[in-house]
């Protein structure tokens, strides 16, 4: 198991790093009901930043 980031800042930066490194761009995301509203825009924004306008 690869463990990323022990400075505990910027989960999203680290997620991006993994996505880029592995060229993932079609995630299936499981999230809690409560965190959904907060998390979706962050991940979408990040996907956009990493992959530009489209794939």
């Amino acid at each position: 198991m690869e463990q990323i980031n022990y400075n505990y800042k910027g989960a999203i930066n680290n997620l991006s790093k993994i996505m880029q490194q592995e060229t993932f761009h079609k995630p299936l995301i499981f999230c809690g009901k409560k965190s959904f509203e907060n998390i979706k825009p962050i991940i979408e924004k990040e996907l956009k930043r990493v992959w530009g306008g489209g794939i």
Partner: protein
Amino acid sequence: MYGGGEFNSLYYNNFACNPNIKEITEAVKIIQNRGKYDVIIAVGGGSVIDFAKAWRLFSKSDLKLIAIPTTFGTGSESTQFAVLYKDGKKMSLDEKSILPEYAVIDSNFALNSPQYLKACTAMDAFCQAIESFWAVNSTTESMDFAIKSISLCRDNIIEFVNTNNETAAENMALASNLAGKAINISRTTASHALSYSITTKYGIPHGHAVALSIKNLYQANSQVSDFDLLDIRGIDYVKQKFITLNNLLINENYFDTLFDKIHLETNISKLGISDINYIANNVNIDRLSNNPRKLDKNLLYSLFNS
């Protein structure tokens, strides 16, 4: 369930806290055309990460899993277990293949969470580390993870629960991750074994349910004798562990002060828990047999304060 538009992502949140088999089965059915996705991301507390692990197993998916915990207690991002419920009973998946390939840890998620949630999750990490340390199946490696986690919990839990101090949150996130690594090797013991029916029958959150018996379990286990020892490494070996814990200033009195300072009620009558018999009868036998001391029914009853 929501599609993610131009990026072909899918968000799935159709399950409750402490997910059950039905919800998993449904998710396996609903999330069709799995070839559409190239990675699984789980963002949330232990339940969410466990749900993603179970989904991956049951749908025989070979996608990699990135776990992003937003609470710090179960250490689910570093274990090969997933807890699911079936007809109110806890089931534990224990499969090497469900260990996430990646864990992204950001303690900022824990800042500003409600105090009670922080107390429950932190106590889960703390109890996992302590139970792992004395577990029959502990190894040199698991004990090393456990001791590091115990020291971090001891030094940070009170500040973590009561303030938004960033360092305390970082240290508790690390403590939780280490405790997960420890129990991934050793498994847990009696406090966890008793906790599952408390959660299902009385709705007490996992970390709180586990904490209810840890103080008396500590006392009971430290009085282990040749007569009721379950660890084949011998009585001296096990007694030495309690000397080590004592040297870390972890002892019976420690817990009273701790529960006070993190505002956690441990009197079961006050929590509305009345049927200890039911809890003792539904104890998880597997985890109980991993406890260093053999505990009979009377000893199990004595683990709770009422």
